[in-house]
Symmetry: D2
């Protein structure tokens, strides 16, 4: 994890205090269930809660670390420290369970906690996009395909397109959250040989998880693979938005700019610089999150009832994927929210290419006037190419083209050069995306 | 696409005949909608159906190819050939549409067709797994963690675990299918400038797609990224099952074997060989499908209203990912279905390590008899290590350990070596997975 | 492999005719060595050459295919067909060898053949880059960091930078070629149990390969992994150049353009379009080649003396990676060679931002005049920000800044706005890159 | 970076103290060169060394952090702190340089330092492999293809195969080290507009780097991509060795075992367990390192003279790839060094399948006795299949096969069952690999 790309709430999920707290809850809830089943004394379960239900302070964590350094087993170290607090009844803790019961269920809780933060982040991005979409619903700007001017769109439509994409991201994340929100307390190879399934059911319910229908020693890793794959897809959507902004800010376009604070420095060497460093950063962070997808997929094919090769991978990508994406989405929301739009440049770019962007409209008008599509194409193209070569604007050139004016009168021709034509369905699209205009 | 790893039905989806047929349907349905709107004559729309609604034969495809070689534009070539059949009314076809309207909507249809075949494939895998699970519900076999004997499970539980995983695969694929099942007929930059949204709605309905709420020139590629990511997750689940079988077949284990036909040759050099070549092949095919995930993710961040960098990638991974996974899943179903189980080896392996696998049960019995967990662990471990070293079986050694027998009488001790203990919850698990036992 | 992104010479390497020809050469050379060792009769070896040394025609290939469909083993099918030509002495062919000896050594030959074509392709790219670099050595253009105008460079420097990168690509490919150019004829598990190492040495020499020092059943796959990884790096370099051109062509920049043939159509809907479709395509092809790296890496960890999971992966990526990259590099060379430079736009962009790009020079002059770096930065920045806001050009604004003119006289100030300052070391760099200017 | 998978020497390379130290060296050497050129006073350069040449203590680092929090620019913060020590002459530091000159050259130094540690690690792995190879040169063991018994090899050959692979790893890393060992001090866009190339040459020489022939604002990222790709290949080779050991340790094979310390616990639940956790861990770490390859490749295509998207990626993968691989290789060397070989199990496995592994020898003897290859194959296979089915050992069954004994007398037949046959070329192979036997 890169500290500068990390926020405290998400980081805390992966810190020992939270991890041990979850371990405690798993063990304590399991004791309740075991007591209900008569496997351990009710007093023992009560004692675990009475004496163990308190935060994992730095002192406690240090104590566990010291024990682990000796016994080389994290769960045993944890149980030993817990016993110091709970006393004699501690021997009833973890009865019939296996380490993976604790570790895997804990990972499920951490991933759902992480998913909840990411869902909030997505809500932040969505809110910013919606606000800007409505603000610029009818700010007509150039639409570009292949980086080349195509036909007019509106800035609001751009934002709406990203809004819809991030709504899909939200849906995918919700589904992926459900995928990892399972609890397994099924013993060494998943047979419940030494623990009743009722324990699993109780702990699952208390932790807001569902029961893993069939586990081996571990929760199957296709669940986690799907989760990280979805983060990779979301990161890629983020990259699309970041790339859009980087493009809009490049000097020659300059239709929008990341907010640049007074006193900020763009470059130590060049005092004139205002760089889209936030969205460039988001582009890099997208690569990071995407890079975790393949290791997560490679983690699925564990040997037999489990091997432990997945563990080191998850120690990295569990925290790093969620922390990085959390930071990135929060940054993205801020960038969108504060994005400076240069309305004058938007308009200037729209007019830059001498009306070229109306070429399709003219061609269609020609075909409706009876010219064949192929001929109409050639008639328009030959004038358009002259515009590229700087010989004038399209309307003027078309008016000077005898074959064109033979087919279309001047007024009709001029009528094709109308931006309103391109915005008449914006409301329809907004209604689809936002349910409202 | 590798011909030897391809099946005809899936391959056909990606062949020109199917592609052009879908293009025709898109154009013809669009004509109907345009006619309803009064944009083109009703007669024209009728003529398109009357004269164009026929298969794309090899001759027609060759004709399109010839035209494309000249005009260097696939959609224009297609429309030109169609005009040869439809005649004069052909000039009303494609009115106000852009090539991507046709190409992207066609890709949606192809991907949903592919998804439907894959869903059938998954059903085949699920059926085979279920049958074998029920067949071997109580075939007790060794469970292994880290490749080391752990505790008994049943072969049926193994199959059940994969069944549950492939059910999740099915759910994910269904969701991913919905993700790509959208139709966009929105013009050059998605504004419907030259075509009414009603056309899109009509075509979508006729093709069984939903309407893309907001498109640019293209359908957003996060949808496709999610689709291919899910294929990657499914491939990884397939790899887990293939790896399990490869392990079970290795000479020293040999609990199961791929079906080996009379007369088959395992090796040109070594006449004795019977190799798990099908599951090894599936392992490689899983790598192939997984390898397509990252390019699909990289396809998301197109520039502005679209660039065409995604196109070449999709020309590869569209067919290759679906064709490869289709072949692989069908092969997998066959492997599971015909898998030869060597019951004698299953049992022999279970007994191979001198009862070591009951070590946890003994330890728990000792703790229930009042021995501390730590001491119980040491008592059992010291005897278990002697078993590893070939000094006898665990029960005999334990009976000779004074400290152990002081805590547990012989009958209790012997009672721990009971396989029934490990199968008592199999029905519970089967009920969760199959809804029945 | 996607036919439209394939060229015949590279494709031919992967076709059956070439594969079987290489198999024949391996077997025939091996016969010579076996005859020299006295293992088989000299007459037999001679007969193999005399009767078998002829092209694999379509008929022969069809014959092999028919046999393979029956015996389900490609090498056996090949040997059977060969026997039809060679007659009785054919039984001495393949003596003591294993299929992998033939298959893996053949793959080595194919990959070196492919590498040779790719090296030629790189030479083509290098030649085009060098020519354009020298042509535009002193064509001053805007240098951009973060997409924002920075300081002037020259177009020649841009080309030189790519030239140096593709020279590195060439060096890497040469090394990777050596990595895969090994021959293994060592029998079923690499022990030479049934074949003398002298056979391997002879075949290796005849085929221009080195001897694999220690093989298992196969040539170790780290060699191939390295090869495909290098292709992935080269593809990424190609993507950088493609991206540069796409940027230079975007409408607002338009400093360079892919060659657009008279009569070509950029868009079926918009007659005015001229899109950088070739470099967009190269961007996608780069993703494809890059996507093959991870499967190649996953192929390394085969089980024990080999498993066959790598095979299906190589059937895909062997042809597809080399064919795609070959096509792409050839296309790239053409794009560079024919790239249209719009000198007027280059100059216009250079002047677009009112002299902002000289900001560092002014700042340095101020510090040399005794102003602290921090103060100098602020003095320049406050004027530069006014230029961004459209309030005038930098020199004029600086002349109106009392604090600035107090430190620097007007002539010195004006002297900072000199392009020559930025080109004075171009020759040095060219000498480093090209060894000449 | 995961602390538990990190070693101090490698970690230190990436810590602020080392980074700032390298920055200082770059700046101080640059001052020398600038002074030689007469650009800055000789006294100033001398002062920088006299007052600045001292370690970056925690206090100094904290001070830089505080400044950076304010000015939001790491290089400026560094220079400001340095000025506190150097005093007035500090204003001559960094003259004409750009931040990337410092950052990129520093990264080159860090990567070469990291490469040097990794080369040492590889030497450790090589030494262990060589020792074990020589120790077990003639320890005959089963060779396996497809996980199925094939023919005998020796344990020494296994080690030799990995030795050769890690020698290739070493060569690749050396080449990759050279690839990233370049120095760029060329100013804002690489034109040396404000700094003489002599400065770059001087700093490069002092830091043991070569001069970057042509830089933009940055050192081109194909160099780094190649470096990380090579780490990915090495990680994959490591995975092959780890996988081999995991296989050898699985209960049914148990030919070798990771060293298991007295008192160690394999499982909290199952006291009998001895798991190959180190090599499982190495398998996971290989996935991690491999996962960094694609982001490194995606970093190559920066926009124009640079964008900063690569930076965040490198902040992660620079440390994490090198630290993880360093830890893993050191662990691997230890595993190989202490690997416990169970000679009895090695021999037992060799004999387990009733002489099946001599099937090829028998078949070849039959063909040499005049039987056609096809017939010989069938004769051996029909007996081999009976061995699989537990009907006896191969030699006995062959002796009872009339057709076999008609072709081969008993003594010749028995002579085929000779292990010596399979080890006769071991010395040849060892000579190739180690230059000695």
């Amino acid at each position: 994890m890169i500290p500068r790309y990390a926020r405290p709430a998400m980081t805390a999920i992966w810190e020992p205090a939270n991890k041990f707290r979850i371990w405690f809850l798993i063990e304590a809830h399991a004791c309740d269930a075991l007591a209900d089943l008569g496997v351990i004394p009710k007093d023992a379960a009560a004692a675990v809660w009475a004496k163990g239900d308190k935060p994992y302070t730095e002192d406690r964590i240090a104590c566990i670390d010291t024990i682990e350094a000796e016994v080389k087993h994290d769960v045993i170290a944890f149980l030993t420290e817990l016993a110091d607090h709970v006393g004699e009844p501690a021997r009833f803790v973890h009865q019939g369970m296996t380490s993976s019961d604790v570790l895997d269920t804990c990972l499920s809780v951490q991933l759902t906690q992480a998913a909840d933060l990411l869902l909030e982040d997505l809500d932040g991005v969505l809110a910013a996009l919606k606000r800007r979409a409505l603000e610029h619903k009818l700010t007509v700007c150039m639409g570009r395909s292949h980086g080349i001017h195509a036909e007019p769109v509106t800035l609001g439509l751009k934002f709406a397109s990203f809004y819809a994409e991030f709504e899909r991201a939200r849906d995918r994340l919700l589904a992926a959250r459900a995928d990892v929100a399972t609890c397994a307390i099924s013993g060494a190879v998943g047979t419940f040989a030494n623990i009743d399934p009722a324990v699993e059911a109780h702990v699952a319910e208390k932790l807001g998880l569902s029961v893993e229908p069939v586990s081996t020693q571990v929760i199957p890793r296709d669940r986690h693979a799907q989760f990280f794959a979805v983060l990779g897809v979301i990161a890629s959507s983020m990259e699309r938005l970041a790339t859009e902004i980087r493009h809009l800010q490049r000097t020659e376009v300059r239709e929008a700019e990341e907010y640049f604070a007074p006193g900020q420095k763009g470059s130590s060497a060049m005092p004139h610089k205002r760089n889209p460093v936030l969205t460039e950063n988001l582009t890099g962070l997208a690569r990071i999150v995407r890079g975790f997808v393949v290791p997560a997929l490679e983690n699925v094919a564990l040997w037999h009832e489990r091997d432990i090769s997945h563990s080191s991978v998850e120690r990295l990508i569990g925290p790093d994927a969620t922390v990085t994406l959390d930071f990135a989405l929060a940054r993205l929301a801020g960038v969108v929210d504060k994005l400076v739009v240069h309305a004058d440049a938007v308009e200037a770019n729209l007019n830059r290419m001498g009306g070229l962007v109306f070429s399709q409209r003219v061609m269609l008008a020609l075909t409706q006037a009876g010219v064949s599509r192929e001929t109409a194409y050639r008639m328009v193209q030959r004038n358009a190419m002259r515009v590229w070569d700087g010989e004038g604007d399209l309307l003027t050139l078309l008016k000077g083209d005898a074959e064109v004016v033979a087919a279309l009168d001047e007024a009709t021709l001029a009528g094709m050069f109308d931006l309103g034509h391109h915005t008449k369905h914006v409301d329809t699209i907004f209604r689809r995306v936002f349910g409202t205009v």
